[in-house]
């Protein structure tokens, strides 16, 4: 996928953008983790990623892997280890598409 295309995809579709930055009412599990009742998908990703960084949860041997602690496990499907590349997809699960 070319970068220009990726850029165009975002600029050209307000729906995708809205999907990323609209505030959403959170389910209870996520609410406890984030500490807010509403957050956007982007905000949630930033929050989780900064949580991983501040708690040094990246595996020292392979930094592409995150060793989940209790709290992180509760929101990421209970997995003990998560690959960084999966992170956006896992977070997206908490933000289902709105039924039309």
């Amino acid at each position: 996928m070319l970068p220009q295309q990726a850029k165009k995809a975002i600029a050209g579709s307000p729906k995708k953008l809205a999907n990323l930055i609209d505030l959403v009412n959170l389910p209870s599990t996520l609410r406890e983790f984030v500490g807010q009742s509403q957050i956007s998908r982007l905000g949630c990703f930033m929050h989780v990623w900064s949580y991983i960084k501040t708690n040094n949860l990246q595996d020292p041997n392979n930094r592409n892997v995150v060793n989940c602690d209790e709290e992180l496990r509760s929101i990421l499907l209970g997995k003990p280890q998560v690959e960084l590349s999966e992170l956006p997809m896992l977070i997206k699960l908490h933000f289902p598409k709105e039924p039309k």
Partner: protein, 475 residues
């Protein structure tokens, strides 16, 4: 290239510079607002200036409280009250410039009719204040600034007011009105107004004329611009000058219409103008946009034949064009030529050349050029680094890319969208997701991109990576 530097214009007119940052004025503290005229009327006599300043010093502390919210509300009665309190507390007579700056800052947040009432109020309360042309120009600018005004009725009203008060609009008024109208996208009204003003009062000067032409070139089709030029020629005998032709040629070159540019070049010769360095640079740029390197060199040769001294921009354009067309070898030769002629290649020159080398796949050569450039005492800018980063990623030299990224980080340079995306993609493909996340963090922290675009690039790259893995052809 071929553009009139903004300083050209503002230096000539005190009032235009007064209008340069209309947003910032009302927010300033009252002290600063009152100080404004000093900076913008540098020719005023010194004794008056001193007197005025001293009056301000005594004035501000006493009226600090009502003044601290100076013209925060567009409400007319508030403004009147404020004015009354300043008048009653000021022990010194206030001059015209003071009233003008008050009116200006009020006009920036209020409606046209309110400003007019405020002006009338000031005249009534303070009879020694007699407004002059600059005062009315403030009102004129305001009436032109409103985004919607069918049939120019508000503008016409102001013009009538100016005439009845004995201050018919001059070329300064025309200039202010045209700039205000263009800034809110009312080009058709601007054309209309210029025609009307030239017939009734005073024709625009060449600066206003060229400004309007340039603005029209950007926003309207070419035939509109030509119509306007023809009309002005028949109305007030205002003929396009060399600057106008440069603007026109620049516009047609940007729209890749080189045939028209050649025609204009002929017209310009017939009108008795000789192309200067600026114009040649513009034409050369036109050829470079179209990747026509031979023609660009042709322009360079023509300049030499005509005895026009090429400048740094000429060489930069030429090197950029040749690199873009994939003729890096020739571009490098010109690096030597320009040094011989006493022009020092700058960051733009080197970056164009690096860009060409990277396009050819010679990223390492480009990095070598970076060293050469730094040896010669020319410091690279963020564009240089972005170009190199892009090139290194394209040539799959990830380690060198990361090294360069470290340099950029320490230099606090911003990432450009395209090099960011390429870098992220190569990192993800190379399985260095953690590094990609780090780059993402830096892009967000350094405010190179918005959070949204930075994240969406990362997300889409990871997604396509996953897809590729599922299909079993991950790189």
């Amino acid at each position: 290239m071929g553009k009139i530097p903004p300083s050209f214009r503002t230096a000539k007119l005190p009032l235009t510079s007064l209008l340069k940052n209309p947003q910032s004025l009302p927010k300033q503290s009252p002290n600063e607002t009152l100080d404004q005229p000093h900076r913008h009327f540098p020719l005023s006599k010194k004794p008056i200036k001193k007197k005025h300043q001293s009056s301000l010093k005594t004035l501000t502390p006493s009226s600090q409280n009502p003044n601290s919210i100076a013209f925060n509300s567009p409400n007319l009665s508030d403004a009147k009250k404020l004015f009354n309190s300043i008048i009653s507390t000021s022990p010194f007579p206030l001059d015209l410039r003071f009233h003008n700056s008050l009116l200006l800052s009020f006009s920036q947040i209020s409606t046209n009719s309110d400003s007019l009432s405020f002006l009338r109020h000031m005249i009534k309360i303070h009879p020694s204040f007699s407004p002059d042309l600059s005062t009315y120009n403030i009102l004129l600018t305001q009436s032109c600034n409103s985004p919607s005004d069918p049939d120019l009725s508000a503008v016409r009203q102001t013009l009538d007011l100016m005439v009845t008060n004995g201050f018919p609009p001059d070329h300064v008024s025309t200039d202010l009105a045209v700039r205000a109208l263009c800034s809110v996208g009312r080009e058709d009204d601007a054309i209309e107004l210029v025609k009307e003003l030239s017939l009734k009062y005073s024709p625009p000067d060449t600066f206003t004329y060229n400004y309007l032409i340039r603005h029209l070139c950007k926003t309207r089709v070419l035939s509109t611009v030509y119509n306007f030029i023809d009309e002005m020629r028949s109305l007030v005998c205002l003929k396009p000058d060399l600057v106008t032709y440069t603007i026109l040629i620049d516009a047609v070159c940007n729209s890749k219409n080189l045939r028209e540019a050649t025609r204009l070049l002929g017209v310009l010769g017939e009108a008795g103008f000789k192309p200067d360095c600026f114009l040649y640079n513009t034409i050369m740029k036109g050829y470079c946009i179209l990747n026509r390197g031979s023609e660009a060199i042709g322009v360079y040769k023509k300049m030499q034949e005509e005895g026009v001294e090429p400048d740094l921009v000429t060489f930069n354009t030429l090197i950029f064009g040749l690199s873009k067309a994939g003729r890096v070898g020739e571009a490098r030769k010109f690096l030597g030529v320009m040094a011989e002629m006493g022009h020092f290649p700058d960051a733009v020159t080197y970056t164009s050349l690096m860009n060409g080398m990277c396009r050819k796949g010679d990223a390492l050569g480009a990095v070598a050029l970076l060293e050469e450039m730094e040896e010669k005492g020319c410091s690279p800018n963020s564009c240089t680094y972005n170009t190199l980063l892009h090139g290194l990623c394209k040539s799959r030299l990830l380690d060198r890319g990361l090294e360069l990224f470290g340099l950029m980080k320490s230099g606090e340079m911003k990432l450009e969208a395209s090099s960011y995306a390429t870098f992220i993609r190569s990192l993800c493909r190379g399985g260095r997701i953690a590094d990609a996340y780090e780059v993402f963090d830096y892009a967000v922290k350094s405010k190179s991109l918005t959070d949204v675009s930075a994240y969406s690039v990362l997300e889409s790259m990871l997604k396509s990576l996953k897809k590729a893995k599922e299909q079993g052809n991950a790189c």
